[in-house]
């Protein structure tokens, strides 16, 4: 419930920021007056009509996904792309409704301001959202399976970045001497899995114990828990692996090192 409210709040405030950005672009271009040559009311009406369509485009980029880091370049690229589509939709909408185009500079202002405003708002809101989602009791308590160098780093990163997935327990198939890792209790071996999962865990990240993948996945399915797997468990330590599709069959792909532009074609 807490997550849904936060998400609805995020979507609504995004609409407000989008509309506000276009209003700012108007006043920046026209001046701090309500012009009779280029009236504000039809302008902002079209912006209001366009904004849900723009939001749908933004949603399809998965920018609101739990796993998305708002500060990443990839996310910024998606926001720029959505803003471009938003501007295009606005221009088209205005033309369809009123049969005329207007200042190209205003469109440029709207594009730049909406992009920057949305990105800054996303950075701020995601920080607030992460804080709220991790507040006790956490909304997405996560169990880490496997104590390895990489899982230790992962736990530290999740905690340091206040990721919504809050590690609450660590299990290890072979047992582990540590009693806690970065403040997260090591609960024991996999025989404790049922107990841990019954405590309301929402995510499980497998970091070792490859031979138990099927059983961990099965436990997750039975308990409606999201299962995640570090590629290193499969021996993939390349750091540029991707999940692709071959005729609809998912495959994990690690390409040879080459010109990054070839990524678009291979």
């Amino acid at each position: 419930m807490r997550y849904r409210l936060l998400l609805i709040g995020w979507l609504l405030t995004d609409l407000a920021v989008f509309i506000g950005s276009y209003a700012a672009a108007y006043f920046l271009r026209v001046g701090w007056i309500l012009s009779t040559d280029f009236p504000f009311e039809p302008y902002i009406t079209v912006v209001a009509i366009t904004s849900p369509l723009w939001l749908i485009v933004l949603i399809t980029t998965r920018t609101f996904a739990l796993t998305r880091s708002q500060s990443s370049f990839r996310n910024l690229a998606y926001i720029i792309y959505s803003s471009l589509v938003g501007t295009a939709l606005f221009a088209l909408g205005y033309y369809f409704l009123f049969g005329l185009f207007f200042s190209r500079m205003l469109l440029l202002y709207a594009l730049v301001i909406s992009t920057i405003a949305i990105w800054i708002w996303h950075l701020l809101y995601s920080k607030f959202q992460r804080m709220r989602l991790r507040a006790d009791p956490p909304v997405f308590p996560t169990v880490i399976v496997g104590v390895t160098r990489e899982s230790r780093e992962l736990i530290k990163k999740l905690n340091k970045g206040s990721n919504p997935l809050k590690p609450v327990a660590v299990l290890d198939g072979r047992g582990c001497k540590d009693t806690e890792i970065d403040g997260v209790p090591v609960r024991g071996k996999l025989n404790k899995l049922e107990d841990v999962l019954s405590e309301g865990v929402t995510h499980l990240i497998q970091c070792s114990d490859l031979e138990q993948s099927l059983n961990l996945l099965s436990a997750c399915r039975q308990n409606k828990i999201t299962y995640m797997l570090l590629p290193s468990v499969l021996g993939i330590v390349e750091r540029d692996e991707k999940v692709e599709s071959l005729e609809g069959q998912p495959v994990t792909m690690v390409g040879p090192k080459e010109n990054p532009l070839m990524w678009f074609f291979k």
Binding site: G173, G188, K189, N191, K192, L193, E211, L214, N215
Partner: protein, 315 residues
């Protein structure tokens, strides 16, 4: 004499088969492991099985179904590994609480012993500790057990629990007869070493008590891991297919040992050394060296060397 069977472990290495089941209750060729032990203990010897609260009901159900009147289930009131009394600690507590003043046949519940307990007990010398030993023929494997140095064919001269450099491949098999005169030493030793069952034999030797060994060549398995479980199944089942009540094995091929639990169905599949527990449905699968817990449903899957937890669905 009184038999005491240690069955309080949580068997983490056999997870997920032991997720909801004590290791001694794992079916081996269709029969719970502990049943092989209990049915071979002379009828007039009372049997106490020590387990923990997690598996209480399962053991009580099994004992009721087994139908031997002098089997008692003793519950160690713990729910996890870190609260355990320790195997020797549990034995000592039972000796103290039940005021045992008799010889004790001490057995570990996760062992399969191919020899007859009658022969073992007949080999005992009065007031002398007797342990059953087996030559596992591999020094590397011996590191995981208590090794036994024997002189004059039968007398134990040294005992080393899980040695780093074993001097022999003769190992203790978790079956021993402790005369009542040794019980005070056991209770005392358990205070400091509640987990070290094998250590009591070192202690007895240290105290000048005589220990003899009973060598056997029949099969013996310490069912501590997936591989050991599969190996024991192969030994007991051979190249056969065991189908329990209501099980179906149709249009399928098999190699090696296959056990199909009650009400399970195997259709259009190829199985090699596979144990399937009850109520599973396997269709169009190729399985090799696998153990499937109850209620698994697999369709169009190839698997090798896997233990699947209860209710796994792969379709």
């Amino acid at each position: 004499m009184h038999a005491f069977i240690l069955a309080g472990g949580f068997a983490t290495r056999l997870w997920p088969l032991t997720e909801k089941r004590a290791k001694p209750l794992l079916p081996l060729a269709g029969i719970p492991l502990i049943e092989y032990l209990v049915r071979d203990i002379p009828e007039d010897v009372p049997v106490t099985i020590s387990t923990n609260a997690t598996f209480k009901e399962a053991f009580e159900d099994w004992a009721e179904g087994f139908g031997r009147s002098n089997v008692e289930i003793l519950i160690e009131d713990v729910k996890s590994d870190d609260q355990k009394l320790g195997a020797l600690g549990a034995t000592a507590q039972w000796i103290t609480d039940a005021q045992i003043d008799d010889d004790v046949l001490l057995l570990t519940g996760d062992n399969y012993c191919g020899f007859s307990f009658d022969a073992f007990l007949k080999a005992a010398t009065p007031d002398t500790t007797l342990i059953a030993v087996h030559d596992i023929g591999d020094l590397e494997k011996a590191k995981a057990f208590g090794t036994v140095i024997v002189e004059n064919a039968q007398r134990v001269s040294a005992f080393e629990e899980k040695p780093k450099s074993p001097k022999t491949t003769l190992v203790n098999t978790g079956c021993s007869l402790l005369p009542k005169s040794t019980l005070p030493f056991l209770v005392e030793y358990a205070k400091e070493h509640p987990d070290n069952v094998g250590g009591i034999f070192e202690e007895l030797l240290h105290k000048g008590k005589q220990i003899e060994c009973f060598r056997f060549t029949e099969p013996w398995f310490d069912i501590g891991s997936f591989d050991a479980y599969i190996e024991a199944t192969k030994e007991l089942v051979g190249g056969a297919v065991i189908t329990e009540e209501g099980a179906r094995f149709e249009r399928s091929k098999h190699n090696g040992s296959v056990v199909i639990g009650s009400q399970s169905q195997v259709i259009d599949s190829d199985l090699t050394d596979v144990v399937i527990f009850e109520n599973c449905v396997i269709e169009d699968c190729v399985l090799s060296n696998c153990v499937l817990d109850k209620g698994c449903k697999l369709k169009g899957i190839d698997l090798t060397g896997k233990m699947l937890r209860e209710g796994t669905i792969l379709t």
